[in-house]
Point group: C2
């Protein structure tokens, strides 16, 4: 087991109706906030109105910034920073999914930084302080409600990349599974794939003696798979959403990665895909992650054998390691298809024309991944395998 | 799934040699501390000296209070409170196992309270604030290094009972598995039983739809069992200790109990045993917990069937639910015996003479447990089953 540090300071407030008390929850921290959200769905669902009412009841002054889109971009982050600075705002409430929360985190670190916030994403500076963030989660997926991470896209340079800052962890996050009932079905599928990949990025490791985290990863993966299948047939099942929603937080709060070297190549390879084609992150991962698996599995086949047996229930009496490993990957793809995801680039109309440039961008800071170190050529091969 | 709140603010610093940097870790919080510890073992092992050196290097003023014993008692807590008040100390470093940490937590809440600290334990007042606590853990067992809980024994009234206060969660805890190498073997066994029971108290529930936490509990239990067996044969195995040590924290930081109604009857029944006979908590639990299981399993047999299959690998094709459930309990007892624990009261020389009084004390605040509500008569039956 590797040495590690872990701190999970976000207060998780989980259950029905909790979003209606958000004003009370904020009161101890701030009298004035930036309310950050996305498009029309929070208004259509009535959530926006309930949040505003609760904030007003608590006497909290509200500055609003809506309009966050999937793959959140820099211009809105700059706008948020400007609003926070001009109005001396110290607290941001993000109401939405990972994109909204990540945008809020970028505003949080950018407001307290004299330079351009993109410096952090370009690895020219390291963020250490942030405005306080709280969230009301509407899409279980990114795990941003409990994580230290934020991913932003620079549309001008087509670079999508992330930062990690402990001060960005929300002070609290409200998770009400009922808010998921109105999500479009493809959002559920993207989210499920995203959280599975957050676990895969940690699970596939060459570190030895990772007994307890292996088990926690496997248990969480099995829960997500089991309950996503329930949602396919019974979309308004509260308990299935509750399992998915809480699993999404666990998947990315750090708990499942301690004591082991994590990978993260699939995420970096996918980020280029969604930066170039503006597809959803989960949509891209469903294609890239299995291709990555097929490219790397022979480098530590025992890890993939364990995965096949413990997560996908492949019969271990099949004594051919390669066949076992591949059957695990095949079952993973089959599951992704079952919940409505495509697992090949050609199925979503993407061809090989940008592979060269995307491979270079994915490796612009050097080799990526730890399970197997990947250079631009490797990444290009993975894009090809995904065709 | 039940609604819940969870916040795990303790920074966990895990790995080899970390205790030698304790001074640096404390420096951001305090210049003056109470150093709280137990008996001679921290001095014999050289840990005490290394801690003192690190603290001195960081220029931290040290007030010492040693002498904490297993089942920590009130007089030392009062002494700690007096030292902290007289010297305006705001930070306590506990170096030891659960007893030392629990004693430090009682001092922490007691110092900031005008009345008698025992008021909290007697349910006459609720603790809400504490001095800051940090720990260097030497015995993986109680989980106190990450928990909000503290258990203290009032020797005069023979009452052993606990409090829970979020402000008591340590600001940081240092966990170095190497520190376990010098633990007496019975301490390992007691600790393992204690952490298993922390999970059992959460696992056995009548709450439905507890999919992900069921899986996390089962994975952690299996890790503990597997690695304790390794230690029996290879006591200085770093990785086995690492798995046990981290599992002990997970077992009791709250993570495994969210979304479900917890039980805690076994702990309350055992507390009387160690209050009356001053045996180790883990020693008592190894006897009480299986007896509790045999008394209650028929109330929700499916939970015990799941336990037998998923934790102890009992073959599910055995279609007799009662036989399955009992086989799970039997394997649990067999494991406890394997690591050197007795599972019957008569094996440690305890007879039935105090059952009446102990049953009353265990239920002095009313019925206990949630899996099955237990009154004094039920508790007495469980003591009898444990004979």
């Amino acid at each position: 087991m590797e040495n590690f540090e872990l701190c999970l300071p976000t207060k998780m407030i989980f259950g029905k109706g909790e979003e209606n008390k958000v004003g009370e929850h904020i009161k101890p921290y701030a009298d004035k906030i930036l309310l950050h959200f996305g498009g029309g769905s929070v208004k259509r669902s009535g959530l926006y109105e309930r949040v505003i009412n609760s904030l007003k009841e608590a006497g909290i002054e509200i500055f609003e910034l809506g309009g966050v889109k999937a793959n959140p971009t820099l211009p809105l982050v700059y706008e948020g920073i400007k609003i926070c600075r001009e109005n001396d705002i110290k607290f941001i409430l993000a109401v939405g999914g990972g994109s909204v929360i990540d945008s809020a985190k970028a505003i949080g670190v950018g407001t307290l930084y004299d330079g351009d916030v993109w410096d952090f994403f370009a690895r020219k500076a390291v963020p250490t302080k942030s405005l306080q963030i709280a969230t009301i989660l509407t899409i279980p997926a990114a795990g941003s409600e409990g994580s230290a991470n934020s991913v932003i896209t620079n549309e001008e340079t087509k670079v999508k990349t992330g930062i990690k800052c402990q001060a960005s962890r929300p002070v609290f996050s409200i998770l009400n599974p009922e808010l998921c009932f109105t999500l479009p079905r493809e959002q559920m599928a993207y989210g499920v794939c995203d959280m599975i990949c957050h676990i895969h990025e940690r699970y596939f490791t060459n570190s030895l003696h990772t007994d307890v985290t292996d088990g926690l990863c496997e248990a969480t993966l099995k829960t997500i798979i089991r309950n996503a299948k329930i949602l396919v047939k019974d979309y308004r099942n509260y308990n299935a959403w509750a399992e998915i929603m809480w699993s999404g937080t666990i998947a990315h709060n750090g708990m499942l990665g301690v004591g082991r070297v994590e990978d993260w190549a699939s995420h970096m390879i996918e980020h280029q895909l969604s930066a170039f084609y503006n597809i959803a992150h989960g949509e891209g991962l469903a294609i890239i992650n299995p291709a990555w698996m097929r490219y790397v599995f022979k480098d530590n086949i025992k890890m993939f054998v364990q995965y096949a047996i413990n997560v996908h229930g492949v019969d271990s009496s099949l004594r051919d390691e390669e066949a076992l490993a591949l059957e695990g990957i095949r079952r993973y793809e089959k599951f992704l298809n079952e919940i409505g995801l495509k697992t090949k680039l050609n199925e979503i109309g993407i061809k090989d024309e940008d592979f060269e440039e995307m491979s270079k961008k994915a490796t612009s800071f050097g080799e990526i991944g730890n399970f197997k170190k990947l250079n631009a050529d490797d990444v290009k091969e993975i894009y090809k395998l995904a065709l």
